[in-house]
Symmetry: C2
Subunit: 286 residues, 2 copies
């Protein structure tokens, strides 16, 4: 997906990225590959590690105000529970023309918190890209290519801020979709949080019941539990932040799991096949 | 994984394969790549389709007796529920020196049934290889390379039959492991049948609750539900044949799922993180 400098007019430079993990690091790399790359500034608790991964064209610092100063775009890529305090620390630093966005996996809480701080120039975002790996060492310049980035504007959002933030995310390779924060949280509970919970419960069950089963496993168990290798603390934060929706999604899953268990225990192979055929239909449509 | 003709001395030729699906077709291809390949005979309801996929060096027929005549090794690769009737149809055809094996995903029932027919020269087997694809068109000559093939000898099994069947499966690329049929069925319920059930229940939940969630999905949902695209009829047969063990495995999964749901709904992020860390440990050990 070729990127062009016109996706990043002068008004979007410099870009200040808070939190150089997998997402923040990949964002810096995706910006850095632009033929006319914007100035990139990164806030990191360990700026040496970030600088080693990102190269010397990227300014890395552990001082949030130094990073935010003069920024045209501010992007929060930290865990959701850290965004509020960082945002309060820099609230008056970016100029009035700066736009603010984030990459949090949950939106209702962060949108309320960041909009209260930055007003209409903040636009919530969630690029649906990631991997079971964590940290800047796993960052990749093509992580966002073709990924769906959900934007969550509100009644308060300024029209031009939405346009600029949308241009920012499409510029690094995403396609965008606007949803309310509440709708976002319900949908990602199904599309992302539930699969992670299920993969973790599955591999925990197999390993704890009999580790020998892990040795017999083929590609099926391997693929279906890949995401369970993701960072536990980060995922615990996501489940906690979106717990109402996650519990709803788990209940919807558990209801069908109980039905499937009933079909197997009652020896109803035709109905098992019909259940599996419906599931296959959904999977084939992915 | 290089194969050598000494893996297939004259005593293992010709090989009669019943059922040219993904497994039977891949087996014919794996045998065909040997520098001195054995004679291969395949029973197929549609011999023209099998011959088109396997090439003219493989004899394909819809007459089970014609395929079994003179065979040194007979391998049943049909769905488990079809093995008994085919085995009865050819019971007196292979000579007294022939060995018989199978590739069924469930072992207690087939082992009882096939051992009753063929006695000590039958050795149950289950190569843990497959894919969400089905049919001979998905067959690959390297499907078994490095896969674990479980053998299920009994008190009745002849020692030399076990040695020859083990050599047969290692010859096509597998590593082997001997377990009782009952132990096999318990372990594959965890390692293979439970993951398939969970993947199917997961994608059915996401699709049925909101198809829009499928459009947002990243690689996580995609990977964790890949196996749910497998053939519904075949999998319904497997779940039905192993239903006691599958229900046990589902109950073990559902118990942990209920615990995880409780941690999320009771807002206990430290315990969620501990659960996820344990799951990650098992996954990292795969």
């Amino acid at each position: 997906m070729p990127l062009h400098e016109q996706d990043f007019p002068g008004a979007l430079s410099p870009v200040a990225i808070f939190g150089p993990g997998l997402i923040g690091g990949s964002l810096a790399m995706a910006l850095g590959r632009l033929s006319s790359a914007p100035e990139i500034r990164v806030f990191a608790r360990n700026p040496g590690r970030a600088a080693a991964a990102l190269g010397e064209s990227v300014f890395c610092s552990s001082d949030p105000c130094e990073v935010a100063r003069g920024a045209s775009v501010v992007v929060f890529c930290t865990p959701v529970e850290c965004m509020g305090s960082l945002a309060r620390a820099i609230r008056d630093i970016p100029g009035p023309d700066a736009v603010v966005t984030d990459a949090g996996s949950v939106k209702e809480g962060p949108v309320r918190e960041l909009e209260e701080i930055f007003g209409g120039r903040y636009v919530g975002a969630h690029p649906m890209a990631g991997s079971e790996q964590a940290g800047i060492e796993a960052a990749r310049k093509d992580l966002f290519d073709g990924a769906c980035c959900i934007l969550t504007p509100t009644d308060v959002t300024a029209t031009d801020a939405l346009a600029r933030v949308e241009k920012f995310w499409t510029g690094v390779g995403c396609r965008t979709l606007c949803l309310s924060a509440s709708e976002h949280d319900r949908l990602v509970a199904l599309a992302s949080h539930l699969p992670h919970a299920v993969a973790s419960i599955l591999i925990e069950t197999v390993g704890a019941e009999d580790p020998l089963a892990l040795q017999l496993a083929g590609g099926g168990l391997r693929d279906s539990t890949r995401i369970a290798a993701g960072p536990p603390e980060m995922w615990a934060g996501i489940f906690h932040a979106n717990r109402g929706r996650v519990v709803d999604a788990l209940d919807q899953f558990l209801e069908r799991a109980a039905r499937f268990r009933g079909l197997v225990s009652q020896a109803r192979p035709e109905e098992i096949a019909a259940f599996l055929a419906s599931a296959k239909n959904w999977r084939d449509s992915l």
